[in-house]
């Protein structure tokens, strides 16, 4: 229970269904934040909703694991020119890792969250993860690393609802979080921004901005401020739209180019996971590379723990470190991380 409306309604629906529900809020980030120490106001919202639902509520301190498994790797990835997705890593290691294990240790049958995604059984009785009923709020992308054994133990009660339905439920139940705005950003990045967060943690090392021919266009004060495909804030003026097409962490060089320079036929993947291990050693799949990005058609070829996607149509280059979610129609097949 984050203190937001989705997890509030998820808890309320489970209580209405007659389950024995325990509410948990995770304390993840111990550093500076916009909402104050330990996001006390969000915890208080969750606590009040739990009290309203007459369920016990606990706060679990995962700040150390969050630093070690999410924040430190996030900073380390930017340091070497990658673009990580911290929400994915938090889901992988904290929510559906440590918390799921703890829920099991506490004797809970399932762990429910307020994510917008559907957990269903297919025709042969296997558990599957599908896109949410509300396509605009679908969060299956950030859950694509879940595997069948995990999916057996999780529930996403609001994944069957539209966001409008969720807010209507919250209003009907008189939950104090009914009108609370959706959270948007990475929870540990303040309004000062990602660049500030990273430059506080990564030694600033100036480097060159060059074009595809190696011609010097300008300088920058650290590669952490750049991500593949970025257009704004390049600080160079060439008369036409330029995008970051490459980041060389070893030399600190940022290469910019035209949109066409970004297009790739293939993307190499590492850290592949599959919901079910058995099917699709090689398959035609839908490939999504951003939380709310479009789906491109591609062919997956596996090799060991890695894989390659060959796109049907060339796609803009994806930053190393980004999560790739693989779909068969609306069903999640698996996930991978874009290799360097």
């Amino acid at each position: 229970m984050s203190g937001g409306v989705d997890s509030s309604v998820a808890a309320a629906l489970l209580v209405e269904q007659g389950h024995d529900v325990t509410g948990v809020t995770l304390k993840l980030w111990g550093g500076e934040s916009d909402s104050g120490c330990c996001s006390v106001s969000d915890v208080e919202d969750a606590r009040r909703v739990a009290a309203q639902l007459d369920i016990p509520h606990y706060v679990f301190d995962y700040t150390e694991a969050f630093d070690a498994r999410v924040v430190d790797p996030y900073v380390a990835a930017y340091r070497v020119g990658k673009t990580p997705n911290p929400c994915v890593e938090c889901n992988r290691h904290i929510k559906f890792g440590l918390l799921l294990d703890r829920a099991d240790a506490l004797g809970c049958d399932v762990l429910a969250t307020g994510h917008h995604a559907r957990r269903v059984r297919d025709g042969s009785g296997r558990v599957q993860l599908e896109r949410a009923a509300d396509a605009a709020k679908d969060q299956s992308y950030v859950l694509a690393m879940l595997t069948a054994p995990q999916l057996e133990r999780v529930r996403f009660p609001v994944g069957e609802l539209t966001k409008t339905d969720v807010r209507a439920h919250a209003a009907r139940l008189g939950l104090r979080t009914a009108a609370k705005p959706d959270s948007q950003d990475v929870c540990f990045i303040t309004r000062a921004g990602r660049g500030q967060f990273l430059s506080d943690r990564i030694p600033v090392r100036a480097g060159a901005i060059v074009d595809g021919t190696g011609a010097h266009l300008g300088t920058h004060d650290g590669i952490a401020h750049f991500t593949i495909g970025q257009r704004r804030g390049l600080g160079v003026s060439t008369g036409e739209r330029r995008f970051v097409v490459d980041i060389d962490a070893s030399s600190g060089t940022v290469t910019v180019g035209r949109p066409a320079d970004l297009l790739r036929r293939e993307v190499a993947l590492s850290e592949c996971t599959f919901v079910h291990e058995s099917p699709t050693p090689d398959a035609d799949l839908g490939v999504q590379v951003r939380a709310h990005g479009h789906v491109a058609a591609g062919h997956l070829t596996r090799s060991g723990s890695g894989a390659t996607i060959a796109f049907t149509e060339p796609q803009p280059r994806v930053a190393p470190g980004q999560l790739v979610a693989l779909y068969d129609g609306a069903t999640v097949v698996g996930s991978a991380v874009v290799a360097a």
Binding site: D20, K27, V43, F60, D61, F96, L106, Q150, R153
Partner: protein, 392 residues
């Protein structure tokens, strides 16, 4: 959901129920003797009389003069006033700019020390032995001619160890006679005779709700002549050291609770010691358990146990769901359990600290509380130790 289990309350070090004597004494103050004691008419006079009677009673029970008792809104404010107020006053008088605190003080003291650091004071932390006792010799090496204040708690809030305050006072007297001595006796007053344990202290913090009084009421004993710069200013109440309309009902409840505590201390200690010994013996049957804090110097109500192979955060959930109220670490305002700086100061490693919980008994503890813990806790430990990860 299962029917609500009967509650076994083992968190007396966090707070206690209000004693019947205190409740009875307080009730008239809300609706009859409700006047502002600073006023000049009959209702005000009656409130003033109640307030000053409470002050006299508390002073007598703490071994102080009535004029030395400054009412505050609790132990934290008393600690803040003592540490910040005394240090600022001493520096203004040119006495120095250095303070010493023990490393496992309550956050009310440590936060005050941090504030003083920000104001340019030097702050030294006296180390703690593995048994949970301040290292008096090391403390002696930290004080110097510029030291204006030494703060060492009377009883630690997490592990319940009674501190050698007479030894601390002797070291201060020998090596830094100009320094004032503050002790946070918030956890002590329920169990030990503050007048004798803290007899050498210049400043003594106490709190009502740790011994059967109401929350939001405490006091700072300020021995005659110790200069203090107030933190809360206004109408000049509490001899100018703590402005604000007096919490008369709180003071009266505090006085009644403290007096009942003192009057029944020997019997309560004997009874709770029996409960504690049975609880410890039962916990010892869980393989691998250890006790935090030297048992030879612990107050009767404190059991702090380490249980290898479990996480306290998870164990507390299972205990709570079975109706057993216990605690671990110190609570943050979010309700999360933070790693204990007390156990760290005693040299416990992180894993051991996070595997430790506090079960604290008090004046209203009953044998069935211990029965319930010994029924629930071993099973909860077996459950947690038997868990295998499912996430991957």
């Amino acid at each position: 959901m299962d029917p609500a289990p009967e509650i076994a309350y083992l968190d007396y070090a966090a707070s206690t129920p209000v004693r019947p004597e205190a409740l009875t004494a307080m009730l008239p103050l809300f609706v009859e003797t409700f006047g502002n004691p600073s006023g000049g008419h009959a209702v005000a006079r009656a409130a003033k009389t109640a307030l000053e009677s409470a002050r006299e009673s508390i002073a007598a029970d703490l071994g102080a003069e009535p004029g030395e008792v400054i009412f505050t809104a609790g132990g934290t404010e008393a600690d803040n006033l003592a540490v910040v107020g005394a240090a600022r006053a001493a520096r203004a008088l040119g006495f120095g700019d250095h303070i010493v605190v023990s490393a496992f003080e309550h956050k009310a003291v440590l936060a005050s020390a941090a504030r003083l650091t920000a104001e340019g004071f030097r702050v030294s932390e006296a180390p703690i032995t593995p048994g949970g006792i301040v290292d008096v010799e090391a403390l002696g090496g930290l004080v110097d001619a510029r030291t204006v204040l030494v703060s060492v708690m009377a009883v630690n809030n997490e592990v319940g160890t009674v501190q050698p305050l007479a030894d601390v006072a002797r070291i201060i007297g020998a090596q830094a006679p100009q320094a004032r001595f503050h002790t946070d006796a918030v956890q002590a007053a329920a169990w030990v005779d503050v007048a004798s344990l803290a007899g050498d202290a210049d400043l003594i913090s106490v709190s009502a709700h740790k011994l059967g009084g109401p929350k939001g009421t405490g006091a700072l004993v300020v021995r005659g002549g110790v200069p203090i710069v107030p933190l809360i200013e206004g109408g000049g109440q509490e001899r100018g050291m703590r402005a604000g309309t007096s919490n008369v009902a709180g003071a009266v409840g505090f006085a009644a609770a403290l007096h009942a505590t003192v009057a029944t201390r020997v019997a309560t200690t004997a009874r709770v010691t029996g409960l504690r010994d049975r609880l410890v013996a039962g916990l010892r049957e869980i393989p691998g358990t250890w006790l935090n804090g030297d048992p030879a110097v612990k107050v009767a109500g404190n059991v702090h146990v380490g249980i290898p192979g479990i996480e306290a955060e998870a164990l507390l959930v299972l205990l709570d769901r079975a109706g057993v109220c216990a605690a671990a670490g110190s609570s943050c305002s979010s309700g999360a359990t933070e790693p204990s700086h007390v156990l760290a100061a005693m040299g416990l490693d992180r894993t051991d600290a996070l595997a430790s919980i506090r079960l604290s008994l008090g004046f209203a503890s009953v044998p069935t509380d211990v029965d319930r813990v010994l029924e629930v806790l071993p099973a909860a430990v077996r459950q947690l130790r038997g868990a295998v990860g499912v996430s991957r």
